[in-house]
């Protein structure tokens, strides 16, 4: 046994009490879906986990109607204090059932248990705790006194952080007084359905949270539903674009958290040991299934060879395998489809002349796997330097001056995140100023916190999740006309008159007839 070989240390699955099949969670109850049910499988073994209901357009109607009723009759009339107490309850129940949720997540998603147990689920609880406290403090959210909930929120989330993305969506929406219909990704519905049980345990009024499962057509039907007031989507830029088109001309408010191709910039004076760990965490965390992954390593030319050598050494120590094993560093790729995409882009990298190196590791027989991979000699025009791979593949590029690093970092239609590694504080501040990215990590990477706004520039989407900004995404100022705000005298007079009219009903802009759903899968 070398020092890298350990006996298997699997987390027990006994804590799970899964059902054979799951229905849709609508109006506080599990009901059958009217579409054709599908299987959720473990990507690590391809074994079937459960049969999942598929929501068709009629089911979407039911879910939205339930959310509307709950909003109008219960949730919008409840005090912020009580809404907050429900959210605190949910946060506590998540903590109590944390291990169960972590095991379910790793089983369904393929991510290592050490990540679901130590990152995903604790953040989920933290997210509910954070927003629970906001529910009775909305006057301080920065939108003036007595801001209003938007109404019914349609939320579509991806498969990379299934339960965490649910928390990012549901916690602020509920705190602000909205009700929600959430659709988890087709390949990872399990923890959302366990969350539905938690909602029942918390005795949340029926209809406040509705969870419907299905594929892209279910998501499109939900987003396009005429009685939805807010759309929040996390997933690919292609689907985000389709959603932006779908909601054009409606009254719906939209938050889109889309793809990225983050630059992780390493200067020659960087604390090198920490930087190596940060680079590894930046791209190999969650098998690289991270929209803000540091997929483009920009390393100063003078330390390129050293950094690459150290990276290879470090990657050779990573353990790929059973997601439920506590020693596993790299879990399974979430689906065959995603594995194919990673392979295709990786092969394109070789075809375009970059040099591929993959960590030597044994690939299990069943399931979907991809060894941690580094590309050197990458040109900025290569597909692997431009397109989001969403897998454990790092492209290494070089720069000589800070100006060149900034120019290369910004040379992408994306703008979600970036990293800076240097010992020089003033340089961090100056570079951070010039990076066109919504989140910048200095001498760290992939940190998340419920109090910290997250979201993109450019084609990485718009709106923020987390913090006070994330709350604002689910609120409107008290009056849709802008009465009551500081404004020059003539405006105050004019808007005071129209404010009275506006108070009766929020002015809805011209609505466009909803187009038939035809959008691709949300992921």
């Amino acid at each position: 046994m070398s020092f890298l070989e350990y006996a298997p240390a699997p987390e027990s699955r006994a804590i799970l009490s899964l059902r054979d099949s799951y229905g849709l969670f609508i109006d506080g109850e599990f009901v059958d879906g009217r579409g054709t049910p599908f299987q959720s499988i473990s990507p690590a073994s391809e074994e079937k986990i459960a049969t999942i209901a598929n929501a068709n357009a009629a089911d979407v109607d039911d879910a939205v109607a339930a959310a509307r009723r709950a909003h109008d009759r219960v949730w919008s009339r409840m005090s912020g204090r009580d809404r907050g107490k429900y959210l605190f309850r949910i946060a506590r129940l998540i903590q109590e059932r944390a291990r169960e949720l972590a095991v379910a997540e790793s089983l369904d998603n393929g991510k290592p248990i050490k990540e679901s147990r130590d990152v995903d689920v604790p953040l989920v609880a933290a997210w509910f705790f954070y927003y629970a406290g906001w529910a009775d403090k909305l006057d301080y959210a920065g939108l003036g006194a007595s801001p209003k909930a938007l109404g019914v929120a349609a939320q579509v989330i991806p498969w990379n952080f299934p339960l965490l993305m649910l928390a990012w969506k549901i916690a602020p929406a509920l705190a602000a007084g909205n009700t929600v219909v959430l659709k988890p990704a087709e390949t990872t519905p399990l923890t959302a359905l366990i969350f539905a049980e938690i909602v029942q345990q918390a005795d949340l009024p029926p209809g406040v949270v509705n969870i419907i499962t299905g594929a892209g057509d279910t998501g499109a039907a939900l987003v396009g539903h005429g009685d939805v007031d807010k759309v929040a989507f996390t997933g690919s830029t292609a689907v985000g674009r389709a959603i932006a088109k779908q909601v054009a001309g409606t009254h719906k408010k939209v938050t889109l958290e889309l793809g990225g191709k983050a630059a992780n910039i390493v200067f020659d004076d960087a604390p090198i040991d920490q930087a190596i760990e940060g680079i590894v965490n930046g791209i190999f965390f969650n098998q690289g299934h991270v929209c803000c992954a540091g997929s483009r390593l920009l390393v100063q030319e003078s330390i390129h060879d050293e950094v690459v050598e150290r990276l290879k050494t470090r990657l050779s120590t990573l353990r790929l395998g059973d997601p439920l094993d506590k020693n596993t560093d790299i879990g399974a790729i979430n689906s065959r489809e995603q594995l194919d995409r990673i392979r295709e882009l990786s092969d394109a990298g070789v075809a375009e002349g970059a040099d591929r190196w993959s960590a030597p590791c044994e690939i299990p027989e069943n399931g979907f796997w991809y060894a941690p991979t580094i590309f050197t000699n990458v040109q900025t025009s290569n597909r692997i330097a431009r397109e989001e791979i969403f897998g454990p593949v790092l492209s290494v590029l070089t720069f000589r001056t800070p100006q060149e690093a900034i120019a290369k970092a910004n040379n992408t239609p994306y703008g979600l995140s970036a990293g800076i590694w240097t010992d020089k504080g003033s340089r961090i501040l100056a570079v951070a100023d010039q990076l066109r990215a919504g989140v910048v990590w200095a001498n760290t990477f992939n940190r998340f916190d419920p109090s910290s706004p997250f979201g993109g520039y450019k084609e990485s989407g718009y709106g923020r999740e987390g913090g006070r900004h994330g709350l604002g995404a689910y609120l409107a100022p008290a009056s849709v006309t802008r009465a009551g705000r500081p404004a020059p005298r003539a405006v105050e007079a004019a808007s005071a008159a129209s404010a009275a009219a506006a108070d009766e009903k929020p002015a809805r802009r011209t609505r466009r007839t909803t187009k038939p759903a035809k959008k691709g899968a949300a992921k």
Binding site: A248, L256, V439, D449, S495
Partner: protein
């Protein structure tokens, strides 16, 4: 015998210069009672593209100026407007068929709005940004930054107040703008451009197009180097198609507003054209 007047030629304002439309086209601007006032340039797709190029080139300088400096420059515009008050009053009186007092009130309002927005330049980040108490050894701060190039369809039923209300908020945070003026009342917009040209606003920060919004707006909505689209004055256009076109590059879009409250001064209008950047700084004694 009365003196023969010297009429003004109204042109576009692109990159700090006053070119005619490259298309060579003009259209007649008439007063409320139908009298000929002037020929205005009828901007083309190429003019719109030139304006976007000029705006993109101006973003770094304007966004990089200190907030205090931007505030001073914007306040200076109000000063110059005040000095040319009589000219604007006369222009609006004629174009919109208002009384002198009504036109005067409009100009006063426009000037006051400049002052209101100018004062926000060095305060907005304090109100829209904040420190975040994250659970770890990090200094975590969120600040607003300008979105980039903002294309605007100005309110169509107003000469000056609507125009000012649309461009001022986008400028506060450091964006550069390409604005399509009111088709019917374009003259005050060009006169305002003359004010901008003699103020300290760097060239390219504001670019003014006159002509048919229905013709120009689609090119701006689909232009990949436009970061955001303000459709405040596009209510009578096929604005849904503009929003759909804007979605191709995920532009930030503000939908049309109608009535006297359209584009009323609000912090929202500044925030709409900013991006929140969050930076995590590691804390360590080592």
């Amino acid at each position: 015998m009365s003196r023969l007047a010297v009429p003004k030629t109204y042109k576009l304002f692109i990159g700090g210069a006053f070119p005619r439309s490259e298309s060579g086209r003009t259209y007649e601007v008439r007063s409320a009672d139908g009298a000929f006032l002037a020929n205005a340039a009828k901007a083309s797709r190429k003019d719109a593209r030139d304006a976007v190029v000029a705006a993109r080139g101006a973003v770094a300088g304007w966004a990089g100026a200190t907030a205090y400096n931007r505030g001073q420059v914007l306040y200076r515009i109000a000063e110059l407007l005040e000095g040319r008050r009589a000219q604007f009053v006369a222009e609006i009186e004629e174009a919109e068929g208002l009384t002198r007092a009504q036109a005067g009130a409009q100009v006063d309002e426009a000037i006051d709005r400049w002052v209101w927005y100018a004062g926000w330049a060095d305060k907005f980040a304090q109100v829209a940004g904040n420190a975040n108490p994250v659970a770890g050894p990090y200094f975590n701060i969120s600040v607003p930054e300008p979105t980039g190039v903002v294309a605007i369809v100005a309110p169509q039923d107003s000469s000056l107040v609507g125009f000012v209300s649309a461009i001022a908020p986008a400028l506060v945070a450091g964006n550069a703008v390409v604005v399509v003026a009111s088709e019917r009342f374009p003259l005050s917009a060009i006169s305002l451009a003359e004010v901008l040209a003699t103020s300290d606003v760097p060239k390219g920060v504001v670019n003014v197009l006159t002509g048919a919004p229905a013709e120009i707006a689609p090119w701006l909505a689909s232009h990949a180097d436009v970061s955001a689209l303000d459709l405040v004055g596009a209510g009578d256009l096929d604005w849904v198609d503009l929003e759909i076109a804007a979605a191709d590059t995920l532009k930030r879009v503000l939908r049309p507003e109608q009535g006297p409250d359209a584009a009323a001064p609000a912090l929202d209008r500044i925030a709409a054209f900013t991006e929140t950047k969050t930076v995590w700084h590691t804390k360590s004694l080592r």
